[in-house]
Point group: C2
Amino acid sequence: MAGASHVLQLTDPLPLDGGGELARAEIAYETYGELSADHSNAILICHALTGDQHVASPHPVTGKPGWWERMVGPGKPIDTDRYFVICANVIGSCMGSTGPASVASDGKPYAMRFPVITIRDMVRALVALLDALEIDTLHAVVGGSMGGMQALSLAANWPERAARVLVVASTSRHSAQNIAFHELGRQAVMADPRWNDGDYYGGDAPDSGLAVARMAAHITYLSEEALTEKFGRNLQDRDAKSFGFDADFQVESYLRYQGSGFTRRFDANSYLYITRAMDYFDLAEEHGGTLANAFAGTGARFCLVSFDSDWLYPTAESRHVVHALNAAGAAVSFVELSAPFGHDSFLLDVPALDRVVKGFIE
Amino acid sequence: MAGASHVLQLTDPLPLDGGGELARAEIAYETYGELSADHSNAILICHALTGDQHVASPHPVTGKPGWWERMVGPGKPIDTDRYFVICANVIGSCMGSTGPASVASDGKPYAMRFPVITIRDMVRALVALLDALEIDTLHAVVGGSMGGMQALSLAANWPERAARVLVVASTSRHSAQNIAFHELGRQAVMADPRWNDGDYYGGDAPDSGLAVARMAAHITYLSEEALTEKFGRNLQDRDAKSFGFDADFQVESYLRYQGSGFTRRFDANSYLYITRAMDYFDLAEEHGGTLANAFAGTGARFCLVSFDSDWLYPTAESRHVVHALNAAGAAVSFVELSAPFGHDSFLLDVPALDRVVKGFIE
């Protein structure tokens, strides 16, 4: 389907958790469907690390369908015939919202002068967008993976802004292993001489390092079972091992493809900044060390969904959030779905997820 | 303790699974204890990917104790007062045995002219060493991780050469996920411009890429629980997040340290070749597609050990080998040990492993 593309220029500087502020921030977003007269039918969808605002419309660089076309559209679980769906590119990213590749006040790209941001900073920008759209209370905020972190952050810090909070395959904090994989990716980018301390705009980008980072991340998005099911030890376009260093195995070829394809649509510095924001995310820490405090007095209804094959944000992380919501007296439902695809299950063909989303949204 | 250091120059060319042969191969090895008059008390210990022959004597580069000092020595589970212990650097490595950094017949380092080798090729070199030492039958062959692959390969292809086969935290084949992590590491090395298609000897080595590869591998060696227990979200030498890209978290600092330390003792091309050999490993494929065939008629006793927190070579992989040994009618014992450290448990303080090793060896 076609979305309507917009860019909002914020008039006020955006305060940041790190202490500074972001002046003249722009927020690129897509909308689908019609906002009702009383502005009560809006659903905000928050995207994941390398996602963007094109949730249900073709990606302008790759031409591929929107990343959640299966979920968003007329008659779909998030029904654009009924709801006004908003999806905005997070600040720090590279698809139109202000990020490290954007031009600063001196006319040059921010690069590493861009401030380190947090998940809450991203959400603060989204709240500014809701203000501009005169949406006081969302029908729902929805997100998977890093999108779920944003949904939780919105619910915790702006509790009056969403009546329903749907969090899929996510977590309230990054674990040591989560941080480790992200640090690996950042080091891969920074090891590429073309990264040049972030000053590569106008020249060659650190595509080699970014591709390695993407490969590492991609392994964490798939379950061991999914990799075995999909590739096993199958060879790629050959009958026998080459006894060389070509991509003999399908899984090698697949990873190389994922890595190189990613560099065509994503900015390496954005990858650094967004992974950093995710690593910094610890919702309990923001609220005196007790996660239940984050949700004290909330009137929203929550739904948490995890996947049994997700080893990046395993079910225990969702359960941890559910326990905190219970302690806070919040209305919460929780389901662990069985799906073979690992963390990526939230993006893939899992009909049970469609039903959960549809049932909770209505 | 002190080992005796030796280098064996093979007189005959070493045939390779890839079709060629390795001329004038050298095998660097350490021995501990005394070979009995009838040559019946020898134990061969096979090392892991980045291990070496210094199993129970200080590493010549780092000065650190041998990698299995806790297991090998006088009065220890592998008792050098009773057994003659041999540990040899695998071919393809960089601690004295012939590998890509070695000088070829033209007087220049092999670099990427070194032939792609297999686990069986490594074992073929070890068998040549046993021949030279006039050891017909080992009291035991012992190995963890890639060392376990070698032990299995010896048992399958030279069944008369070992009376006991002890395989710890290993597998009979590399899974798609195992291959994926290795490919990630290889791509990290190759993405480093200093790698220069492998021709870096005498100049700057691709340390940045190799460090990233090591970081990736290191994450797979530890369990999620071990990382959480050891580091959690603790900050490194600071009271608050820096809102920058320094190693704020202890786990980041630890990974950077592991990465950079590794480059001081290991050759990047060796890393490529040895990971390739591991990825190629599929013992069933070598024996008509049926793993049990690999062990048909074996007279050896086997012991398989796995760790419940090892997600690199999980217990299911050991059980798969045990089933094949059962099908082949072999004498086999199997134990899954509970240890929190993940794959690295085989190298760390797990007293139950000491008891299993001691009990099986005697």
